[in-house]
Subunit: 429 residues, 2 copies
């Protein structure tokens, strides 16, 4: 771990930098897969699945029998845990639905916005040894609450052509409408163009490796929208003198175990606290099954001592962390001043893993400093807002002349005319 | 105008199609300009401005004197019109600021979202014969309401190295922080990377020609976000038997005058109404100064008779119009069923031009069927939402076990450990 003491601001650009990605240009590979899937549909999907997932599939679609059988393969304990998480995620996301508020901007001129679901959405859930069912909760629940009619989920099959029962169970529980045994670039291409069996969608969500990420970027050029640009996961912890070093160390390690490129930063106002945290990290690291991966990320992590809270705040906002834990007693001096962050965890008993699973907030969050301009996934991500306006005869008489003048000044005579005709008709009446 | 009577659904795919864009690949040109601007900063900007705008500029930044002088060059009438529009746009956009709502998802677990401004935004305003000051209102007002600290505006200079006073006046009025005489791809590149004089921004807004549009797409690959993908403007009007054909015709023409590629569609439930509208279009078209451009767009427009309102509604949602005018007596049967549209104008006295200028709604809207998944510009576009959560000792005891189980099932031991440590500490207390 790299320790820095009250770094000067000119040094911040380096400290807030993310590891530069190897700019391997995947464009050509991605373009080829997309073209093939657009041209040959399911046949292309079967070829790629055989090549990349080492399994020959007749049915890409998960059958109702497979889905129904999944419940018996998930432990009751895990089912209860998933039910608890689902409840909290539902309660929080439901609270984000903004009611219609009708505003009279001028006498006779009323305007309002209404949220409407994105009708067709596609969720991508990566494969691998551990089933990422928590991401299904995070994406499926808001999609269902929004009212999306078609919720398609793609996840790669294992070598036996199966998908983990925890994924099938959770997908059914939240209300995913169709599931496909389909991974990688071909899954993203299928949901972009549609094939004989896979429906095309309007927006794509979910994590993935560099190929899936590049495929989502490519989909964006094909008229589909995506949740947000992706990058390695990050955690920043602010620890004051009262923070328990073992709690802080456990949080840093929970981030570090995500992968070699995970970003971990800890701010404190005393060097003593940073030393204690560092010692605890060393202790806890030894016990972790994924210790090699975590050790790598920890090696690249930063411990920074800032005596002044203003400096801490400016540094937080300059870095724009995906996850920010405020393990401090006086949180009030921080909260209003945090401008750039994905999700904030307050106090000693709010570890990041609570938000990853069960507090109710979403765990799909902007990394790589994108928290400066992107929100994490929330109800807005599964909806769009339509504006409505209604103008009465009185209303157009109040604002009509202003529209005529402005249209005229912009050289748009027919825009002006649409108002003039109406004003004349009202004068005659 | 093409008239179709109760087209069958299999024919809808053709009727809802947008004109296919020539896929001229501008990538190479755009990439070169971006590289030059990144490398050579202001010097590159001056070279491109000399080449494309035919003017040699010493100062790219608009001086305070030029800004201050603009007010005397705008008529009092137009100033009053702009003030009226500004008021309405402010009132409506302010109403979109969602207050913080704290939710207790489980006893001891509180979650909420807070809106925060995107700190640095860039607005692009195209040049040309007519000054598009209305777009400054539509982008500058929500930026200021959101609390963006740096609001940069770029607009190309004329041959005398000047920007139209109506643009300078409106920019000052709404609170744009810095203005540059800078157009085209080089303006977008400057706001993406920053130069000696132009600040870099986090998000880019505004209309433009195909080069500017392609430059914004390129900026997206350089870590900047953008308002939305662009396309030719569109209007769909639904006219019932009571609709005044001359009002409808004036609305269709106000859209048509935007350009050759404008999309104009009119739905009615009787052929008689469509004939009357067509006759009125022919009459009004003759009087327009931009009649050639409008005539072209009108030639490509569609008049469609749907006897059933359900068919009209399905067609509206399949087309997903940028602007939708409901010139009907019984609007209630439509409103709740509109799923895909940018902005909706209700009743005989609500022309599209009202929303273009002064009703209060935003005129930056999704075209090209992007209304299926994008909102128009609103307060969300200038902000992001940060989630917060705070868990009490009691709260972590309630949800802790669920987190442990889920983290374990996903193979993330350190995630589990961050909770286990805390639960153990609480047991000891």
């Amino acid at each position: 771990m790299n320790t820095t003491d009250n770094p000067s601001r000119k040094h911040w650009a380096v400290l807030t930098q993310r590891p530069t990605k190897k700019s391997t240009d995947l464009g050509k590979v991605i373009g080829e897969v997309f073209d093939e899937v657009e041209k040959n549909g399911d046949a292309a999907l079967r070829v790629y699945t055989a090549r990349f997932d080492n399994v020959v599939l007749n049915d890409l679609k998960v059958s109702q029998e497979e889905i129904d059988a999944s419940a018996a393969l998930v432990s009751e304990d895990l089912k209860n845990a998933i039910a608890l998480a689902k409840h909290n995620i539902e309660v929080f996301h439901r609270s984000q639905i903004t009611p219609k508020e009708v505003v009279e901007t001028t006498a006779g001129v009323t305007c309002w916005q209404e949220m409407r679901a994105i009708e067709k959405v596609g969720l991508y859930i990566p494969g691998g040894t551990a089933p990422l069912f928590s991401t299904i909760l995070m994406l499926g629940i808001p999609a269902v609450l929004a009212g999306s009619k078609e919720i398609v989920l793609c996840s790669p099959p294992d070598k036996d052509g199966k998908i983990h029962p925890a994924i099938l169970y959770t997908a059914k529980l939240v209300g995913v409408t169709t599931l496909f045994k389909l991974g990688g670039v071909q899954a993203i291409a299928a949901m972009t163009y549609g094939t004989e069996s896979v429906p095309s969608v309007y927006k794509l969500f979910g994590p993935g490796n560099q190929y899936v990420t590049a495929a989502k970027q490519y989909a964006l050029t094909q008229g589909v929208s995506i949740d947000m640009p992706a990058g390695p996961s990050e955690l920043m912890v602010v620890a004051d003198e009262a923070a328990n070093p073992s709690f802080v160390a456990s949080d840093l390690l929970s981030q570090a175990e995500h992968g070699h490129d995970s970003q971990v930063i800890c701010l404190a106002n005393t060097k003593k606290q940073l030393e204690d945290i560092q010692a605890e990290v060393a202790l806890q690291l030894k016990e972790l099954p994924r210790k090699e991966m975590a050790a790598n990320a920890i090696d690249n992590s930063q411990l920074i001592c800032f005596e002044k809270i203003e400096d801490q705040l400016d540094f937080i906002n300059a870095y724009a962390p995906e996850h920010l834990i405020l393990n401090v007693e006086n949180e009030a001096i921080y909260l209003d001043k945090i401008e750039n962050a994905g999700s904030v965890f307050i106090g000693p008993y709010t570890p990041e893993s609570a938000g990853d699973y069960a507090s109710g907030t979403n765990h799909t969050l902007p990394t790589n400093a994108f928290a400066r301009m992107y929100s994490g996934v929330n109800m807005d991500a599964f909806t769009k807002k339509i504006t409505f306006q209604k103008i009465s005869p009185k209303g157009i008489q109040v604002i009509g002349n202003a529209i005529e003048l402005m249209a005229d000044a912009e050289g748009l005579q027919a825009h002006k005319n649409a108002v003039s005709l109406r004003l004349k008709a009202l004068k005659r009446d």
